[in-house]
Symmetry: C2
Subunit: 230 residues, 2 copies
DNA sequence: ACAAAAGTGTTGACCGTACACCCATGT
DNA sequence: ACATGGGTGTACGGTCAACACTTTTGT
């Protein structure tokens, strides 16, 4: 049994964000394209979907190939399917986005494919419509950071409140009032305060916290929705 | 130039919602599938993407084919791409959703393809993963109705506040306080009150309003976001 | 005059926001 | 002792949520 319809190449591109806590900068993982056309130019990590491979699995495979990571935040964003988006042929590309802890990146895997981080402020030219994809992801980040606990995907397992605030400041490009930010974030009761301090950036040291993902899952089931007023 | 990768069928399915103001019911447009497999079973309207056709254009074409409508609300929702979602072969389907005014449907066009409305409460069995698609759309409706002026896509050009409230009640499956609803919706200043009344449902008659889409576009550019507390 | 739906205001509770000083520590 | 970043509380104004009666008009 078969359909009378044209077949099309389907690819998956994966927009990977990381956050450099030291520089307070959002970064995107790019790699040097290994095939013609655009050989050697900067591109989102990506690849074609195999015959016997779910889209989701393709995204997982690609992410693992370039970062060595699995079980991280990875969601479908949008499909790009204009006829002429790729001059080499008709390719429909499914864009996924991923948020990872920047230090978890397996550097050997990244190196093999010439992948490296770029600050959002210093993005090189990207092939095809990949710039558009990055912009879409930035927008999504802005929208979602208030509504879902995605910030914690970008920070180390254990983080300080100043770090968390810095991250939100970076995403929203403005400075939030310190006291109000703490009130907002602690009010959710989704942070577990640890008995340790991080002294790497001050003499006093800042308490470390971790995100209570179990509690969040539980609350989500009961209809709870995060809604930070930042 | 060509890629060494498998090619895949790409289809577009289009989830069309309408709102029956009389019965206060949300409806979905379904049609009897015209090809094997699943010939004669109920399905979302859809079709394959042509070789030289943008995804968006395919959605527009399909919607026009079945409804005779263009220039209506039509947005991409998600891609469904599991290997075995269609037993007849590997098909990746891009789901679009559309909101239309139920009486604008061109009945002759719909009839040609055996398309008709179904209440959400009386959906028949659907082929493949189309039930999942409907559920995704319902969820999207719930999320978006507070944040975007999509309700007006479902109502006639001119509508009354009681009708609008009924619609929101239907979407959220609960009854909103009448006075608070009016306050919320009028506070936006996006409704234009007309000098006419609709007397079809009461002796007193309810004032007709229309949505000020120009003003909304303008405000959107300036960063305004609708945020109804329903 | 009455039935049936449309329309209208007020109050209390809570929440968001603005704002400035003390604390802990390593050097 | 001092410099550096971490941490804390309060008061005001606005917004959401709860609540019941009057208005209009066709019959």
């Amino acid at each position: 049994m078969t359909y009378l319809a044209p077949k099309i190449w389907v690819s998956v591109d994966c927009l990977v964000f990381g956050y450099d806590t030291n520089a307070s900068e959002l970064k995107v993982l790019l790699f040097k394209r290994e095939v013609e056309p655009f050989l050697g130019e900067w591109s989102l990590i990506g690849g074609f979907v195999e015959e016997e491979e779910n889209l989701e699995n393709a995204a997982v495979r690609i992410l693992d190939n370039f970062t060595g990571l699995s079980n991280v935040f990875l969601e479908q964003l949008q499909v790009f399917g204009n006829v002429n988006r790729d001059p080499a042929g008709r390719v429909v590309s499914v864009l996924y986005w991923s948020l990872i802890k920047i230090h978890d990146l397996k550097k050997d895997k990244a190196k093999i494919h010439g992948a490296r981080w770029f600050s959002l402020s210093e993005l090189p030219d990207l092939i095809l419509d990949h710039k558009e994809m990055v912009n879409l992801g930035r927008q999504e980040l802005i929208t979602d950071a208030k509504l879902k606990p995605i910030g914690f995907e970008l920070l180390p397992q254990e983080f300080t409140l100043p770090q968390l605030k810095q991250l939100y400041d970076t995403i929203y490009g403005g400075s939030v009032d310190d006291r109000n930010f703490r009130k907002q974030i602690l009010k959710t009761e989704l942070l577990i305060k640890l008995d340790k301090k991080d002294k790497s950036s001050s003499r006093k040291g800042a308490f470390l916290y971790k995100f209570d993902s179990e509690k969040y899952k539980q609350l989500s089931k009961e209809g709870y929705h995060l809604d930070l007023k930042i």
